[in-house]
């Protein structure tokens, strides 16, 4: 069952267009939403949540129109838009006391457990927390009102590798019951390798692909060859980097299977994104 359905979402800014963005988030899964800085990830998320007034499109949450049932739907959505950077002079307990008033389903036991798990002291002020701790506090708030869907915009960006790994474990445990889902935007692709079931890739305001993580990776191959082979394969390379001994690049799987004489290896998500972004301008290390 689809918990979130985004159809033809459109938002025009001077110099940027979110162009008919469509993808779904399945119940009980983690959807990784990837793209480079400025690709439209945050604009998409903000448009979905009506923080930005979209020019067109529809957003359904559990089959209901999210924009016309905003208050009800948002009670079942946990949001983390980066680190918690609001009311920095207030104590954590003051912020939590205000926040929980908005949720009938607030679970104080879960909240207290998360505070302990994240080593967050409720007597501390937001300004006294590190960047990573602020993300953890935002997560603690988002996870404490029994949300069915978590929408996380760059939640791991400011965290150290241990904290990131810890969070990814938490994400996996959240969806284990099959009833919760996560939409997780990031440019730290390695995080998604560890936990995402599905991938939606946005580039320049357009969705490049939205599919399951294995199919996403399986559709591409990393190839490398000698310098004199470059001209022959240039048209089938999605992106490549030339160096003194030859080149390495990305190809679609079917093209790679036909490419005789090249070394072919499975592609990882990060390479797919990097080489796809080079599509419009191949880069040479020699330049």
């Amino acid at each position: 069952m689809k918990i979130l359905e985004i159809k033809d979402l459109r938002k025009a800014y001077p110099g940027f267009l979110l162009d008919d963005v469509s993808f779904d988030v399945e119940e009980g899964s983690i959807m990784g939403f990837i793209g480079r800085n400025g690709a439209g990830k945050t604009t998409t998320i903000k448009s979905v949540l009506n923080l930005v007034h979209a020019d067109g499109g529809t957003v359904l949450f559990e089959g209901e129109d999210l924009w016309s049932n905003e208050t009800v739907c948002k009670k079942r959505i946990g949001l983390v838009l980066g680190e918690f950077n609001y009311y920095k002079r207030k104590k954590l307990k003051a912020i939590a006391a205000v926040t929980k008033q908005f949720y009938e389903d607030w679970d104080e036991e879960t909240y207290q457990a998360l505070l302990s798990r994240f080593s967050l002291d409720p007597e501390k002020k937001i300004s006294e927390l590190s960047q990573g701790m602020r993300v953890k506090f935002a997560l603690a708030l988002a996870l404490s009102h029994r949300a069915k869907l978590l929408i996380l915009d760059e939640p791991t960006s400011g965290l150290d590798p241990v904290s990131r790994d810890e969070l990814l474990d938490i994400f996996r445990s959240i969806i284990e019951d099959g009833e919760h889902s996560i939409l997780f935007s990031t440019h730290i692709i390695s995080d998604l390798e560890k936990c995402a079931d599905y991938i939606t890739y946005i580039k320049g305001g357009k969705i490049v692909v939205s599919t399951d993580a294995d199919s996403f990776k399986d559709a591409y191959r990393l190839v490398s060859g000698e310098a004199d082979q470059l001209e022959r394969f240039r048209s089938t390379l999605i992106g490549y980097r030339a160096h003194a001994f030859g080149f390495t690049g990305l190809m679609r799987r079917e093209d790679a299977e036909r490419a005789e004489g090249l070394k072919v290896a499975p592609a990882d998500m990060e390479s797919i994104m990097i080489y796809t972004e080079k599509e419009d301008g191949h880069e040479s290390a020699a330049q």
Binding site: K46, L51, H53, K74, Y86, Y87, K88, A94, Q101, Y103
Partner: protein
């Protein structure tokens, strides 16, 4: 709405607001334009808007399960509550002055129902200018306050100026019916039935203007903020 209002009072109130509300004690100063105390309360409200903006309140609120319209309405209600607290304090001070300060106020409107009516008009002007102007962008609190301050000061100068003029004319011995009417029925403590009736009508008109302007301000603000992107 209850949760949003609670958020406004627990997170958005700037400490200076209490100091500005305490300036209602300016009504104890002899010969002073007492409406200035209301301007200070508007200043305190502006401080609260600034405090909220600087603390990322727009984004924090946007993440809560409330619509933009509800957020704007709650903030408007917060403003109304602050203003009504000031009006009640002003009424108490006027009642106190009836006994303790019987002299005529040479600096503006006397302690009276008229003063409270003028204060309501002042707050109406503030609300109708400040709120829609602020919610046009959701962050330009200073520009909105500057615009509203111009409106407020024009009103203070007009209303208190008229009272000062009526005092001066009456003291000069020239009998002009218009100024005599002001002097005997508006710019005085409501000790006669006629003065009380005139001032009650003024108070009713002031209250009506306040309600209409504030509702209109909230409606325009909601409409404008819908178009604002929360960043």
């Amino acid at each position: 709405m209850k949760a949003l209002l609670s958020k406004e009072f627990k997170l958005c109130v700037h400490p200076a607001l209490f100091i500005y509300l305490a300036l209602i004690l300016m009504l104890l100063i002899p010969n002073y334009p007492y409406l200035v105390s209301c301007f200070f309360v508007c200043n305190g409200i502006f401080f609260c808007f600034q405090q909220a903006r600087e603390n990322g309140d727009a984004m924090y609120t946007a993440m809560l399960p409330v619509s933009k319209a509800q957020a704007v309405k709650a903030r408007c209600l917060f403003v109304v509550i602050i203003e009504m607290i000031d009006v009640v304090l002003m009424a108490a001070m006027c009642a106190f002055a009836l006994v303790a300060m019987p002299e005529t106020n040479g600096g503006g409107t006397d302690h009276s129902l008229s003063l409270i009516a003028f204060a309501l008009v002042l707050f109406a002007i503030f609300n109708i200018i400040y709120l829609p102007s602020f919610y046009k962008t959701g962050y330009k609190a200073g520009t909105a306050f500057l615009k509203s301050a111009i409106g407020i000061w024009i009103w203070i100068i007009l209303s208190d100026g008229m009272m000062i003029a009526s005092n001066a004319v009456m003291e000069s011995g020239v009998d002009i019916a218009f100024f005599r009417f002001i002097h005997e029925n508006i710019d005085c403590m409501p000790k006669t039935a006629e003065a009380l009736t005139v001032q009650a009508i003024l108070f009713g008109a002031g209250l009506l203007l306040y309600v209409v302007c504030t509702l209109l301000a909230a409606k325009i603000s909601v409409k404008r903020y819908e178009k604002v992107s929360v960043a």
